[in-house]
Symmetry: C2
Subunit: 274 residues, 2 copies
Amino acid sequence: MSLETARTEYLDADNVRFAFRRLGPTAGTPLVLLQHFTGTMDAWDPAVVNSLAETRPVIVFNNLGIGTSTGRTPDTVEQMAADAEAFIRGLGLPLVDLLGFSLGGMLAQVLAARHPGLIRRIIIVGAAPRGGEEHLLAVVEDAFAKAAPDVRLPLFFTPTEESQRAGRAFVARATARSEERDPDSGDAVSAPQAKAIIGWCARKDEGEATLRAVAQPALIVHGSDDTMFPSINAYNMFKAMGNAQLIIYPDSGHGALFRYPARFVAHCRTFLDE
Amino acid sequence: MSLETARTEYLDADNVRFAFRRLGPTAGTPLVLLQHFTGTMDAWDPAVVNSLAETRPVIVFNNLGIGTSTGRTPDTVEQMAADAEAFIRGLGLPLVDLLGFSLGGMLAQVLAARHPGLIRRIIIVGAAPRGGEEHLLAVVEDAFAKAAPDVRLPLFFTPTEESQRAGRAFVARATARSEERDPDSGDAVSAPQAKAIIGWCARKDEGEATLRAVAQPALIVHGSDDTMFPSINAYNMFKAMGNAQLIIYPDSGHGALFRYPARFVAHCRTFLDE
C-alpha cells in the first residue's frame, strides 16, 4: 500500500465528511500529517510518506473544504486546528504524533499546546510561530509569475541546479497518482487559508506564550533559504519552546522535506523512535 | 575493541610522537576525532565513540603536548590544525572525515578549508567560527568554583535534573578506563590552548572567509544552552557555509554530544552515510 494506491476513506463527524487515507502498519502511535497552504492529500511527497509508513501508521487527510472533504475552509488557524482535532478524535485515536508542513506546522503548534493528552510529539517543517515573519502573498505571486511547469518548483525549491533537479523528481512523484486523485484547491480554499496564515503571523505579542505551552518533544525542520517563512522563524520557535530540536538543511527552500526525502525521514525516525 | 580497552599506539612524524587509538572496522572512510580544550583521548565519551566505531573506522589521538604525545602544545588553532594534518598524513590516510568538538571544531574548519582533497566531510560540535562569541575563561572559572565531583558536570551540562543525570552517566563512562589512561593536562596545555581559542575568536573580520572556503558537506551540532560558545555561533556558521546542516539540541550545554549520545550518533550516521 502506498500514497499513490491507497483508497480514499471517509469519516463522518459533526455533520461534515473528512476524506483520508491510511498507510503502514496498524500497531504503533499513528503519525497524522497536516498539510500546507492549498495542498490536498495528493500534494504530499510519496517518497516521504511511504518511507515513514514503513515503520509506523501514517494518516493523511483533507481538512474541511479541501479536496473531497465537505464543509467550508475556515479563515483562522485555531478553527482549522479544532477541525483537525475533530478528525483525530472521530477516528477514535487516543494518542497521535503530528507532522505539520507550513500552515500545517501552525496547526500542530496549536494542537500540541491545547491537547497534551492527545498529541505525543510534533514535527514542524517550514512553519512560523504566531507573530512570525511571513512573505506569503509576495512569494506566491512571484512563483506564479515565473510560469514554471509546476509552481512548486520556484515555490518550494531554491534556484540551484541540484535543488531544481530534486524539485522535478518531487513533482514527478507527487503527480503520479491519477485514480481517485484529489481535485486541486480553488479560491474557496486559498482565500480563507491566506487570511488565516497572515492573521497568525500578525499576532506579534502572542507567539511566545503558545510556544512555551508546547511541553511535548518537538522537532523543527526548516530550509536554509525559505523565502516564504525565513529560517529565523525556526530558530525563534526553537528558542521559545521548552523541548524542541532544530534542524536546518542547506540549499533548501520552503519544501525542505521534499528536497532531501531520505534524510528527512531518517531525522523523523530518530526523533519519533527515541 | 572499545575506547576503554583499545591499546594506545604511537606514530612518529617530524621528530614528534603522536599517541592514538584505532577502533572499528578497517574498511571505510576513517573518522578522525579532534578533541576539546585540555581534553585527552580518555575525555571522549565511550558511548559515542564505540557506537560510531560499529560502522566505520574511528581514530582518536592526542595532539602535540597532550597526554603521552610528545612536543609542545602550540598557541594557535592554525598550528594545531597543521599538527593534526601531519598526524593524518603520517598514518597514510588518503581521505578522512572529521568530528571536532569545541576547540577541535575550530581545527576541523581550518583543515576542511585548507585540504579539500584530504577531508571528505566534517562534523563540528560546540564550536565557534573565527571571530565568534566565546566566554571561555569566565565559564571555566565559574565551573571550577562550583567544586562539582567532576568539573564537566557544570561545564558541559545544563543545571536541569535530567541534564545533570546524563552528565553523571557520561562521567562514569569517561572515567571507567584505568589501564594506559592518559595523564590529565596541566598548564602547559591549558595556557596555550586558551590563548589559541581566545585568539581565534578575536579575529572578527576573518570568520566568513574561512567558512565560505569550506565546500565539503558539514554537520554543525550545538547545545541550546552552551554558555562557553553560545548557540548563535552555530547558526552563524551554518549561514556562512555553503553546504552545512544545522542541528541544535534542547536542554543541552557545551557537551551536547554527550547529553544525547544515541541521538548524536544517529545524526552522525545519517550525515556521513548519505
